[in-house]
Amino acid sequence: MVGELEFERPITELKKKIAELKSFMEEKGIDLTDEITSLEERLSALQEDTYENMSAWDRVLVARHPERPTTLDYISYLFKDFIELHGDRLYGEDEAIVGGIGMFHGQPVTVIGQQRGRDTKENIRRNFGMPHPEGYRKALRLMKQAEKFSRPVICLMDTKGAFPGKSAEERGQSEAIARNLVEMAGLHVPIICIVIGEGASGGALGIGVGNHVHMLENSWYSVISPEGAASILWKDSTKAKLAAESMKITAPDLKELGIIDEMIPEVKGGAHHDPAEQAKRIEAVIQSSLEELMNLSEEELVEQRYEKYKNMGKFTFVNDSIAVK
């Protein structure tokens, strides 16, 4: 099976066995219906068990699945009359971020998202979905344009991180991301952000400051990739699995921590099993977010963002001036 993930192997094995039995029954004309029914029951229980109890690492694998729907896939399902717009007007065009205008249920919107490639050739063109400063500056240009024409902004986040390279540093990767954070904080139109795959650090956050932030069930969002965390914390990038579990990076974790507004359930086994159905689920969440946010005034939108982020963080106070035990 193409794109089969390690934790799904027992399911694939069982499916194979059922198929074998079925063909055997047809060939030899022996009635094996009882056996097949019992195996099918076992399969559905196994699927239930596997997909209900996915570990953080399983989710990371699903989020990285080569067939997982990308920003442009969802755009084709979600927005009518979409026109892609290019370039930051300052340096160049970065295909790791796509953006444009379109219609959502009769409402004009601006859509921005990080874009992975589907194959090696496209991945090279799109720099594996790792944006340069010009990508973030293109995103900002489109957001300011949305503000001018009172269009809500929808951001789809999916990146392994902002590109770590010489050219990116020379052109101000830090400044490009930092500028977006500040400008998104003050944008006078609704911003809805959805993590659809990988949400790595500042590279994701660079288009991720929103009134509402949602996550697909099997996406991850973290201060650093599991591999990066493992190599910093334990000097061993092979401990990524352990890092994924302890860093609290999955949608259920982030929902519990109060970082995201909604976790969007995925189709069984992950979005790639049924992109059209997944798009419908995303559509419903965008719809309800928009309904809520379109009622807010410009000032209320900015105020809502202020309060949202102001409340993030855990700290305490001590009586002594220096808290040494």
């Binding site: 390279g165 991301i177 500042g202």
Partner: protein, 284 residues
Amino acid sequence: MLKDFFAKKKKYATIPTEKMKQDVPEGLMTKCPECKHIMYTKELKKNLLVCQSCQYHYPMSSFERLGSLVDEGSFTEYDRNMISENPLEFPGYLEKLDSDRKKTKINEAVVTGDATINEHPVVIAVMDSRFRMGSMGSVVGEKITRAIEQAVEKELPFIIFTASGGARMQEGILSLMQMAKTSVALKRHSDRGLLFISVMTHPTTGGVSASFASVGDYNFAEPKALIGFAGRRVIEQTIREDLPEDFQTAEFLLKHGQLDKVIPRHEMKETLTNVLKIHSGRGE
């Protein structure tokens, strides 16, 4: 055997331990890590922790920095008692915080408050790289945000001296969210027409460089300070190309249009005073 007549060469260079490094500045004499010039520690301190021979800028603690900038007796500290929790229940995190508190005699990696600089009132935040590498967790983000809110309320300029390795891994996503939190506060400050000066000192990288450090109305830096988004090693591994000697230094950023000015420590107070004077409209 013949080879026994020759003294064995040591196979490895001796790397000074953390303790040895710490011991040096405490002593009577201090050796410059850059040019190996040896000077009296007292003289070095009088010289604002700048090597007299090669102008190497030693890292400064938050209070050393404040001492070199603000008018004597003018500093009022904010939120001194705020300390970190362990939101992800990360093993060993609380112990590390505790040992850094003992070592540095401060509660977290930033000191905030208000003060005057040559009689110009400001709200000021100074990060301290000795505390968890100056990394930003919930407390650092919250203290900086509260300081900015004070600046908004009092209609004062906000000045920050950054020194940070970036986000604090042990606080995970909460640490990332501090970038957004400080940004919403800075936006409000900026919308009121208030002045924000960012001074980047060694090192300013990762999440701190990719948030408040880079969006000052003026972005300044100390000479030779390391400033960048991604670590040098990560970049070398990613692109497999040689990086220039001065890569990610203050001078490199200046050359690429990312900084307004590189300011040696001796001129810092004077330059900041000058900017504050122009902004107060009370220049000559």
